[in-house]
Symmetry: C2
Subunit: 319 residues, 2 copies
């Protein structure tokens, strides 16, 4: 039976990854590590033997003990303070809860379980101040991070490379683009829009006002169900020490995403820009190429943008 550690196991992506494992219907043992308790339990799963450890990844000795005892073959590192907005407010805390916790994990694995394959989940924010001629972004495009969060993610990736090449650890890296999916917190733009739009709909109104940041930015949104399948493909067929974009390859303005959702719900909206939501510096256009992961692992996206948005809105309608 396979043994997998998931860090950040109480989070949005972890829940979708667990659902993916459950749907594979093959027995697997999972140790989840998170500073928070999850909103699910082992009895929610038939094929997953689940154990949860509520610890802070800054606690290196506790972390090391868990890895040493469980000796996972795979470690999916999802733990992250992944809000860019938060990183501008609390850069020290953001950096610690991205880069430092990851370094602690790497070093524990180096010492007690160096054969494990680690999937280091990074972010499209690493590309940063993109030049239009570099689009779509490829894995060898320059990294010009412009937010504290993005720097933390680049640092994580650079550490991954040192641990892969210098210490010989089996690490595969991602730069994961914007997610669409149920259960994502509404501090993220798309979930915030979906929540606000469905509130208007549920109130029986034909329209209303949305509070937004800069909606002219272009992002590459990918369904979370495609994301977790990509992570599985990288565990199985990713090359050690390599980084892979996990993206749809298609770019949309946030404005267009709002229009699509409003259209699905059949409502009209006006936008109110809140300066609190506009960032000191931001990437204008982010569109990735997924050629590498498709070519090397055979993975591909399965969900259309329309399906993803309909499922997202259905989730928020039901809340």
């Amino acid at each position: 039976m396979g043994r997998i550690v998931i860090t950040g196991s109480s989070g949005f992506v972890a829940r979708h990854y667990l659902r993916y494992l459950e749907e594979k219907a093959a027995p697997v043992e999972v140790v989840g590590i998170d500073i928070d308790s999850p909103d699910y339990t082992g009895s929610d799963f038939k094929y997953i033997k689940l154990n949860h450890k509520t610890i802070d990844l800054m606690n290196t000795s506790h972390l090391s003990d868990i890895i040493k005892e469980f000796m996972p073959q795979r470690i999916l590192h999802l733990a992250s303070f992944s809000s860019v907005a938060f990183s501008w407010q609390e850069p020290i805390m953001s950096f610690r809860n991205n880069t430092n916790i990851f370094l602690n994990l790497l070093d524990a694995v180096r010492k007690v379980n160096p054969e494990a394959r680690i999937l280091s989940v990074g972010s499209s924010d690493e590309y940063g101040a993109v030049n239009e001629e570099d689009l779509p972004l490829r894995e060898d495009s320059p990294l010009i991070p412009v937010s504290p969060y993005a720097v933390a993610r680049v640092s994580q990736e650079l550490l991954s490379k040192v641990y892969a090449n210098g210490y010989g650890l089996d690490i595969v890296m991602t730069r994961s683009f914007n997610h669409i999916g149920t259960g994502q917190k509404d501090v993220f733009a798309l979930s915030s829009f979906a929540r606000q739009l469905t509130e208007i709909k549920k109130a029986g109104l034909s329209g209303g006002e949305l509070t937004v940041g800069d909606v002219s930015v272009v992002r590459d949104f990918i369904d979370i169900r495609d994301v977790v399948e990509a992570y599985n493909a990288l565990f199985e067929r990713g090359r050690k020490g390599e980084v892979y974009n996990v993206c749809s390859g298609r770019g949309k303005t946030l404005n267009a995403m709002i229009d699509k959702m409003a259209h699905i719900l059949g409502i009209d909206v006006t936008l109110a820009v809140s300066q609190n939501l506009v960032r000191p510096a931001d990437n204008k256009i982010v569109i990735g190429s997924n050629d590498k992961i498709r070519r090397e692992t055979g993975w591909n996206t399965r969900y259309s943008l329309d399906e993803s948005l309909r499922d997202l809105l259905a989730y928020w309608m039901a809340r």
Copy 2:
């Protein structure tokens, strides 16, 4: 009277910078911050009004209080665990005592003294896995860090850029190349060689054996007195948000440096390679271009390699 904070004030570079300030013979107020106490006191200086704070830069509130009370115009950030070898042994501690302490400093300055000019001292190690066609290294050459220390320094630089461009802080950055100078600890190759060579000389022997790592690597060595003058030039004329190489522009193998020193002392040496001193991954050739700092600040080197090595050997002979 100018007010300067020096972090890492008990270290080798700080002592040379203080000597430089003293030689300028203009009154200046300095607050030194270091986890260790320095081996000098205020009474060693005539022009410098010195105050030392023995604190850990991980202590953010204490640090912030010091900055707020003193309100320096300039902050020279020298505090660093700057040994590459140590970073391979203790990557977590190395990262914390490079990147995290610097982030703490940046964030304190952002909150309580955002007008201060910060000199963020980085390292030539940031260039990492250099391609020969990129030599001499310019500030826009790619950064491919290969050690934990180098990653920590790249992270520091990326944070500097975010704080300069995102928060508007007045930060100038360096990538400082290998130093030659008195007072440098002998965990660094050149000081180790000088110590070992002068021990042979002082024992009255005509030759002996030196314990070394990989001496085929090429490095760009610059006199510490030229380094501190460059830092002053960057405080005065460096451009905000810009990074500058601080280097001599000339490359030598470590082997050639040993030969030169043995020649000055008139002794013969054989080399014994210790695998403990050979690193998991290392940069083969590091030679910088100092065009940018010379062009923009008028600074230039003043010490020849021969002068630097003679002064270094005289220092170790006297110990």
